[in-house]
Structures are given as C-alpha cells and as structure tokens.
Symmetry: C2
Subunit: 585 residues, 2 copies
Amino acid sequence: MLEKYIDAATRRKKADLVLKNATFVDVFTGVLRKGDIAIADEKIVGTGEYEGETEIDCTNLTVVPGYIDGHVHIESSQLSPEEFASLIVPRGTTTIIADPHEITNVCGMAGCEYIAKASENVPLDVKIQLPSCVPATPFETSGAILAGKDVEKNIKNEYIFGLGEFMNYPGIVYSDPDTLKKAEAAHAAGKIIDGHAPAVYGYDLNGYLCAGISTDHECVTKAEIDEKISKGMYVHIRHGSSTQNLGNAKYITDGNMRRFLLCTDDRHAADLKEKGHLDDALRKLVANGLDPIRAVICATLNAAECYNLKWRGAIAPFYLADLVVVDNLKSFNAKYVIKSGKTVAKDGIPLFDTSKRYLPKNVLNTVHLKREMRADDFILTLKGKKAKAMTIEPGGVVTGCEVVEVESKNGDVVVEGTDLLKLAVVERHKCTGNIGKALFKGYGFKGGALGITIAHDSHNIILMGDDNESMAKAANRLKEIGGGMVIVERGAVISGEAEKSPRYEYKIYSLTLDIAGLMSSRDAESLQADSRALIEKAHAMGVKREYEAFMSLAFLSLAVIPKLKVTDAGLFDVEKFAFTDINEE
Amino acid sequence: MLEKYIDAATRRKKADLVLKNATFVDVFTGVLRKGDIAIADEKIVGTGEYEGETEIDCTNLTVVPGYIDGHVHIESSQLSPEEFASLIVPRGTTTIIADPHEITNVCGMAGCEYIAKASENVPLDVKIQLPSCVPATPFETSGAILAGKDVEKNIKNEYIFGLGEFMNYPGIVYSDPDTLKKAEAAHAAGKIIDGHAPAVYGYDLNGYLCAGISTDHECVTKAEIDEKISKGMYVHIRHGSSTQNLGNAKYITDGNMRRFLLCTDDRHAADLKEKGHLDDALRKLVANGLDPIRAVICATLNAAECYNLKWRGAIAPFYLADLVVVDNLKSFNAKYVIKSGKTVAKDGIPLFDTSKRYLPKNVLNTVHLKREMRADDFILTLKGKKAKAMTIEPGGVVTGCEVVEVESKNGDVVVEGTDLLKLAVVERHKCTGNIGKALFKGYGFKGGALGITIAHDSHNIILMGDDNESMAKAANRLKEIGGGMVIVERGAVISGEAEKSPRYEYKIYSLTLDIAGLMSSRDAESLQADSRALIEKAHAMGVKREYEAFMSLAFLSLAVIPKLKVTDAGLFDVEKFAFTDINEE
C-alpha cells in the first residue's frame, strides 16, 4: 500500500493524477503556494513538479482541501443521501458529519443504518452521529426511543462516528442518570459528542461540558463564543436555510482561530441547488471580510481536527486526496471536485451516477394511524370564551402565546370567519390514536387544511385548517401516500344547505415524501417543482408570505423551543416545561 | 462518574480541590483569565467562583496546563523512570511521549515493558512509543531486533502509544518492504508515527511523509521548518542537553503556530536537576522573545493535539486536572504541580514516594561476554605506516577521519607517547566475541583505559585506552558490575622491568548502571556525585575539557552520523554506508 504512494512521491513512477500548475492553500502555515499536486490512489503524495497518468491544468485556478460540514441533518433537504450528495459534492463538500436525528425519531436505528448505507453509493464521506435525543422530550410520541441502554448498545457500532448534538441540556446539568449514561457510553466507546447549547452560560455550561461535549453550533453573541471557546468547545459557524450565524466569523482572532468550523445544520434543497452548500458559506464569509485562507481553514483543517479526521483537510503528502479546484477564493466556484483521488464533479455537474437509491422497506410506509380519521376527530371543545392561541415570532421557530376571544358552536370552536385556525398533531407511529389540538392565530390560510408528516422532532402529522372534514382528509391522504405534504381545498357545496349539514366538493393536492415521511427518493429538481407548486397553492389559499407554508408548521410541535407548542399529547408550555390548558379564565 | 463532575461544576457540591483567585492561561483563545479553578477527582470541572474541600490560594500566581514533552528518551538521564519523574514532575511536566529506543536495543520488548511498568508508580503519564529502528543499522550487533513482523505484533499492545522516531529514512524513501511493514502496522493499529528526518527535503521528504509520519524534532533552518510544517509535520522545538534548537521558535507565525511543540529528546540528570526540564525551555523561549502564552500553548495544547491526547493540555471543564501553578510566565518556577487532580509537588519538591523501584530481572545483568577479556584481545595489527584515525568535530557527535602516521611493535600499534588512543567496541549482548577496533586522535587520555556500556545505538561496550591490559580489565569490570562506566588507571611497575614484560599496579574506578547498562536504579543525587567524581578522574587522566569524558565516547559507535564510526563489527564509513579498512596506503 505505502509503496505506491512513495514511488509516486519520489517520482520513481508517474502519479495517477496531477493537478498541474496549481495555486493551493497551505492550511498549516496559512499561505498560498504554487506547484503541482500529485495523487496516487486515494492519497495526495506530494507537491512540487510531477507528471501524472492524468493531468488537470490548474493554471489560474486555486486548489483547496475538500470541505467538511461539521453538522448537518440530511433530512432537512428532504432528499435521499444520494441526491443530497449529488447537490453538495459538486459544490466542493467531500465530508459531512451527519446527525440523522429526524429519521431516527421516526424509524429508530433503521434510520441511522439507512443513512449510512445509502451514503455508501456516493463519493461523499458521511460520518454518522448517533442521535442523542430520541425522542427530543418525553412529552410526545416518537417512532422510536433511544434510552441510555440503547445508546450504550448502538454507540459501539463501527459505522457510528459519535453521539449527535446533545440537546437535552437540563438532563445533563441536573445529572439525570439515563441522560448521563448516554454520554458515558460515548466516552467508553472513544467517540465524540456534539453539543447544542443555546444560551447556556456560566456554571450551567461548566456542568454541561462536564459530560465531555466538544462542539456548539448555536452561538449568537461574542460573549457566548468567547466563553464557549475558552471552555474548550469548537464553535460551528452555521449556514443553514433558516438559521445562520455567519456573522460570528467576525469574532475569529489569531488566538481562537483554530476552534471555528463551518456547518449547515438544516439546509433546504432549493438553497443547495440555487445558492450552494459550504461554498456559499465561504463566498459570503469572504464577502463579509473574513480572510479567505482563514475561511478555508475553518472549512477544512479545523473541522478535521475537531472531529479527529486524521489525514484529512489539508493538501500535503499522505492526506486524503479530497480537493476542490476553484476559480478563486472569492467566488469559490468549483471547477473540479476530487474525492479520494477521483474526479467526481466538473463545473458543478456530478460525474457519478446520481440515480441509484438504496431504499430498504423499514424506512418506507411509516405513517400508521389507529383508524381512518373523521371530521369529528378535529372537534375542539372549549370551556369558555377565552383560549390560548399560538403565534409565530419573527424568525420562524419561537412561538408566542396570545389569549384570544373565541366562539363555539355545537361544542366546537368556530374558526371560520376569524383569524384563528385549528392545529392538530396526529400521532402516526404507534397507533395510539393521540391527537393534540391547539389554536393558531394569524397564519392567513382559509378554506380547508394543510398538513405535513415533518413535525419536529417526533414527526407526527401536523395539520392546520379551518374545516374538520378537510383536516381528516388531509391526515388520511398522508397515510395513503406514506407521508409527505398535503393541501385539502374545500370547494363548492355539492349537496345539502350551506347552513345545515352541507356536503362540499374537496380537492386534494399532495406530494409524497416516501422515506420516513421526511424525504423523497426522487431527484431534487422534479421534487422541487412539485413542492414549489404545493407551496404556491398554500399561499394562494391565504398563507402569509412571511411564513414558509409547510416548514413553519413543522416547527409548531418542537417542544424544546419557547413558548407554546403542541405535540400529539397536548398543548405544551415550554417555559414551564409542562402541558397547559388551552382554556383561559 | 460524570455525576460527580457535574455536581461540582454546577456548585451543587463542593469541589475536591480549588485553585483560588488564579490567573490562568486560556490556551484556546490565547489570553489570561482570572478565577477559581475547580477540580473533582482527576478532572477540571469549571472556572468561576468555587469552594473546595481543599483550596490553594493562587493570588499573584499563574496557572498553566501541565507540560507535555513530545519526545524524550528517559534513558539519556541515566535514571530509572521513577527517579526521572521525581526530577521532572516538580518542574511541571505531567505527560511525556517516551521512546525507549536505547533500552529496547539492549533488552528488546522487555525494555519497553519495563519503562511502561516502572512509570506506573509515579504521577507522570508516560506514553510509550515502540522503537522503530532496533537495531539502528544492520552493521552492528544489538541486544534485540525488531523486524517488521515484530513491530506488527507489538504495536497492537495496549500499552504501546505509537511508533517511535523513524530514523531509517532511506528505508522508507527506497521502499524497503520490511521498513514499510512497520509503518503499515502502525497505521493498521491506528497509532501515530514519530519522525526523525534531519535535512530531508523535497521529493525525498514527500516520500518519507507518504509513510504517514507526523513529527520532526531535527529541524535546523527556517526553510526546513517551513517545508515540513507546510507538508503536514508537527515540529518539535528541542531542549536537550547537547542538541537544542530553541532558536526555531522565531519561525513561529500566526499561521503555523499550532504546529509547534516542545521536547527534550536527550537530557542529562544534571541538567534536569540544576536547570530543569520543559520549564527551562519555557524560561529560555520567553527570555528569547517568544510570547509567553504562545510558549505555553506549544508545551500543552499543541502537543495534546499532535498526539491526540484528548481532554489534556488546557484549563477547561472535563480536561484532565494536570496543572502547574507558577510564580509568573517569565521564571516559570513551579510552586505547585497538580497531576490528575492530586498535588504531587510543591516548591520543586516531589510529594510522592520517590524511593520505589520496579526492577524486573530481564533488564538487569545485561553484559554478556563470550569469555573473560585478555590484554591480547586489544592488539591492533596494522599493515603499514598509515592508518585512519577518528576525531570529534565540534558539537560532539559528528566525527572526522584523519590519516595518521603510525608505528608498530610486536604486531601491535604503538599508541603510548602519541596523541593516538585505541578504541574498541566489545559486543556484549550475544556472546559473539566481536571486537571492533579503531584509532582515535586527540582525546588526551593517558595511562590506562576508560569504558562505558552506553554506546549508541546498540550499546555494546566501548573502550578507549593506551594499554591493552587496562582495556581488558575495563571490559571485565563492566561485565562484573552488570554495566556502567569504568576507568582503569595503570600505576607503578610492581614486578619485572619496565622495558620488558613489566607487571603494573592497576586501580579500577567504576560506577554501576544496573538497568540495561544504561541507567541506574539509584537516586539522582548520589549517582551524580559518583558520576562527577569519575568524570573528574577521567579529566585528571588527560581527557580534554572540550569532551564529555564518557558521553563523547558513547557516540563514537553511532553508525548513522558521519563520518567515521566503529561498531562491534568494525570500522564504518558512514558517508559510504559501508565498512572500511583502517589501513591506508
């Protein structure tokens, strides 16, 4: 094995591939260098003057190490790992630390295994973090539970790289035994633990870190970054679709430079396709004033060091030949992407088969209802004239709680003709029959229902509507298609009187997310076209443009982010960390 | 396990130990911070305001992480690991990467095991590198051979941390299969390989690095450092007794800062006792203008990163509580040393039992001769009037070759009355009876013989003298005492005529190095007193002050350093990498 590298390095034999006349980023000294980069098999073997069996002329081009995304949920793209790779590899990303938190909440370990196996077909190194918080809270029904003992068992798997973002910060700080068991199991297996600690400071942060947690991607202030880095955390600069903190790059100093890396966390297919992946982060970071070499170091060497990805993230002998040939360090347009010594993309086009899909049965058909839903399942009986209604704060994930005046009729709250809508979370994993109900104010939608099987973090069915029958039809359609997005539009009265037991015409529009109800096995382009059409339909039916028609819905069940949320088990006050009564005195 | 840390971190329970009111170096951001440092069991659990069961007031003192010596041969101190620790731990060193190259050349794997087990008794983490070059060359008889297959077997041992400095650079660059097998075995075991590549550049360096080698401690120029760091090596700044390159610190830049660490390589007991260990390096680096925080980072975090010593080398929650309380970042006088949460030294005095010795039989009595040596074993018959003689170049390890005029009498070269001395390497491991002979010019010694069982790298007996009988007696005494240093002084004629078969009075002075003939099981102080007396005796007998009486001798057999050397197998021309004839035309 070594002989071939050494023969090529010393020029006794031709290299397999040579990037000729390159300018390249030396991440170890932080300068640009010039020369040929020689590759044998999957390794860089040397820089200098080389001849290769294949040569790529890199005159006037710049070569950087392949990018490493330090924290990403592939599921947020709604794409299969294969299709995801086909979008990000041509952008220059060659390694990702993937936390399959969403699919594992639906499918359990089968979700992790699926992501791992599906990724074997593509030229992208996908390091799988075992999700640490399945379910995210005990106040909901998820498709799977990974208790301490389950983590103990599964963290040892060879394909598991580490333990995923530890969101259950109170569980650690208050020393919950089952929570600590998870961290202890990761340490026993010698595996890294990712963190997630928004606004955790001081002694709480000390306690949290005493579980041996290495990273945070939730920093928002200079003080937070300073404290977290000084206490040993690596800090991810995040370039997600909704949540971004690229501005944190301005807190990079000579002293703390090595502790910053890049991640995308949650990034939609449309952004990946139109704007890019880490290349887009690099472009924006440099446009905002970050030194381009530093930006590259964050995206490569720093991430490799953080995750102990030895021999990766640099252009040097014996390093993995993961390379991106870009036009310059301003545009970061990837002309060629080399993964493990093979040219896998050119001018943004993948050179690998993007049509393969690994699709095991245990991630398909994941919508299970106790029985067919009926209109009266969505009756919401209130005690009086006042009730709590959810709102969405600017930003899209934090919700508000507003006390509203309500009218009822036949034991059901009246939402038609108001700016209120019914919200329902229908349990879809264990056939419990659970339905959590709430009111939402100000979404704007009228005349039916919309629903989706992405509902963080347990991914039950979340529905919103002003018509019980529409909501039932929406749920039933989602079951029928095995998960996805749906709009039910109530049309004209087709029998009976409008005032008394009318029967309406209904139109149903849906899009299938066949993989766990979260992702599609289709190609990004056709999926997006259909998705856009469905989103436009929702807006046409009144959803305000300030909301992401379906994805805003998907966060209304996330019971770890303030203020008022709804799970399949009921209305939840996140600040009190307890269920709450919808009725107000 | 984690619960105790977290309880202390969050102040629910008292910490075990608190360093109160400390100023401390934050290696992650490169600044000084103030606060209490709380410790529970072996871990740092937090910084802030804390109470502890025990408290140490650190007002006006500065706390730094325990130092990590990136590359050291304990044997060079001539002390047992226990005694070595008793000298360096009170100086602030808490972790060393130890390469037992010398003792392994004598005792094989028993040498490695001995260093590992002896180190268990002391509060110093000793990470054992399996020596990669045993023997150093095929041109000598060593006590053991670690071929590729032996490395394959032993590198997997849990107590083996990595593969020691790979000195056989031609073996790699020319793809010698057995040499590559060693590197491949280290990679298969997931273990680091230390380098040793003096003046290796360009394509040779590329080839060398393609064996997956991580470090170098032999850099002497800016260009060399720049190339080696840019090609991925970590560079040790060395503070040995003879070989030092502290000046390399001036090549530290913002860009390459994280790739420098400190080591001592070979440091004598006297220097350890009188000047110090890495504390002395830090003192001198800072005196020479290196920023003190950077100096500390090199000695701590950088070394921890290089050797993947996770949770070590920083003052932060969950990091190992290896700490040094110093007076300031200029003097670096260690007031307290904390190892794994325990106070193990105060004001330079160890607080641990320094008298324990682990002494297994297989590292004792390691001098084995085929038979008792006789005077005529040291007859050196030359063909003519000219012969090659060794000299020592300034610096002490590079030798010269000078052609000298010689006289012979009774078939033996005459050295008495000349500035020549006989040099002999007597094989002492395998009872081969091998004696390599040479002439040395200009050492100054007269009237007997001196000898030592430290003779790099195979550590046979090396003798120098002007009297065959004295040389035989010296060898026999070294066998008798199981290794060490000896002086035989020829005195007055006690019978016969001075001109014809005289019998002389002989005085023998010796010092025992019972452990492998390399190290003593005694305490440093009494050993040094005796050692100093013996060295003074050698100088009194004429050894010039420019030489280290015994240690200069010890390098005359090191057949990898130019120019002329002698091994038990004969006179060796290092530049031709072949044996050579002592006779000149």
